[in-house]
């Protein structure tokens, strides 16, 4: 039996580099999905607040469905059926098939799921901005777009950030679900290393430590962001 240190060494026959590469993929997917989720979420929140009856209804269906179905089911559904449907659509329109890489598919799927949760977090945060501030912005001549960029978004961020931080932490761990489609992120890399060496405890502990490190680093970052966007507000507690 090799010692744990040898098993976790960075160069073959150690598996450390595989785990770190897995962590890299995990972070990359999480970042991509988070950015996509924020974009969908912001558009969705604005659509839910300002949209017409049809748009609001469509968004309601999106957030309800996505939040009701387990991520694992959605990933299997979107990864296999979704990409195939996209290709069938492309072919019927006379375009060439595209091959969606595991990374891109993972980002799309998780981003699409994140979008639903982010929509609700941002909608609540936008509604928490006092209406008077928006009215004041309009009164001094800002266009609706300017009022959003200069007033609503900076003012809603303190309300949104705790929820967004939660979503990020959940997302970093949701990436492990992509192991079911064979994507080589941290959970998959760990499973490979453990099954090859039979050192299950060593590798799952190492993976746990890496996820913990990622969470701790994220928490520090989000605290700093929250401090920044809360500046000028009275401190609580």
């Amino acid at each position: 039996m090799q010692s744990s240190l040898e098993l976790l060494a960075l160069w073959p026959p150690g598996w450390g580099m595989n785990l770190l590469r897995g962590l890299g993929s995990t972070v990359l997917i999480a970042l991509g999905a988070y950015a996509l989720g924020l974009a969908i979420g912001l558009a969705g929140a604005m659509g839910k607040i300002h949209g017409g009856r049809f748009l609001r209804g469509a968004l309601e269906i999106y957030t309800t469905l996505i939040r009701a179905i387990p991520e694992l089911v959605l990933i299997l559904l979107l990864y296999y059926a979704g990409t195939d449907a996209l290709n069938v659509l492309l072919e019927s329109l006379g375009f060439a098939r595209i091959d969606i890489s595991g990374l891109a598919a993972g980002i799309y799927v998780l981003g699409f799921v994140q979008g639903a949760y982010t929509t609700e977090v941002l909608r609540a945060a936008i509604l928490a901005v006092p209406a008077g501030q928006v009215e004041a912005a309009r009164a001094i001549g800002m266009t609706p777009g300017q009022a959003y960029r200069r007033i609503v978004i900076p003012a809603m961020l303190p309300f949104a950030l705790p929820g967004l931080a939660n979503l990020w932490l959940i997302l970093t761990k949701d990436t492990a679900l992509l192991a079911v489609v064979g994507f080589g992120e941290l959970a998959q890399a760990t499973r490979f290393a453990a099954s090859k060496t039979k050192a299950f405890f060593t590798f799952y502990m190492a993976a746990g430590a890496l996820y913990l490190a990622l969470s701790l680093a994220s928490s520090v970052l989000f605290s700093a962001l929250e401090r920044h966007f809360r500046r000028g507000q009275p401190a609580h507690g």
């Binding site: 950015a35 098939r97 890489s101 064979g182 499973r191 490979f192 099954s195 090859k196």
Partner: protein, 255 residues
Amino acid sequence: MKRMFGLLAGAVAALALGANIAAADLKISFSAENYPPFYEKGADGKWTGWEVEIQQAICAAMKEKCEIVDVAWDGIIPALVAKKIDAIIASMSITEERMQTIAFSDKYYNTPAVLVAPKKSAFDGKPESLKGKIVGVQVSTTHANYAEKYFKGSTVKTYQNFDDHNQDLAAGRVDAVVGDSLAFQDFLKSAGGACCEVKANLEDLAIFGPGVGVGIRKEDKDLLAKVNAAIKQIRADGTYDKISKKYFNFNIYGN
């Protein structure tokens, strides 16, 4: 704030580039797990094993460039149907059930299924001897079908990976496991497998079928013909035997 919008837009645009126009390379998948001595992935990220070399020989015989795509076992047929991969070379047995969805090449090997259990147990492979016991199998395998059909009086527990049920056998959480005789060789030689031994050969042609073939989409008739020709060629020119001798001391092709 404008900058943040720009960043988001940039990220979304970058994602759109993640989709490439499909390349002409033939995409082949082993299952994304270690299944020694057939296929396993080392710390250097390279696949090795008997089936990996056979795959390379088949590709060489077809004069095709092959690319390996990692797909999880339980998603491997959906991935084939969804055209994420073009061929499955993952020790997949040819069965009636699977042939409803995909096509298979001629067999390229055939090994018996066995029941593995702790040495001190008195199982002989007959359903009565396993009554009330827990039998572990890998999900969506012919072994799982066999256990479902014969071990009605036992609890059949399904696992995602071959390794997982072996771990549980070593830990005593299952009383016996059903799997491929060859795949068990490495496990039984390892420290964790010292507890156990092969108790019985399991036979049922209706379930286990004629052997293991390359899984291919039903409509890819050209590819099917090419793969069959390639298997014949490597059988005839000695490549198959040369590769097999490195791994096995008996005839893995079967009768």
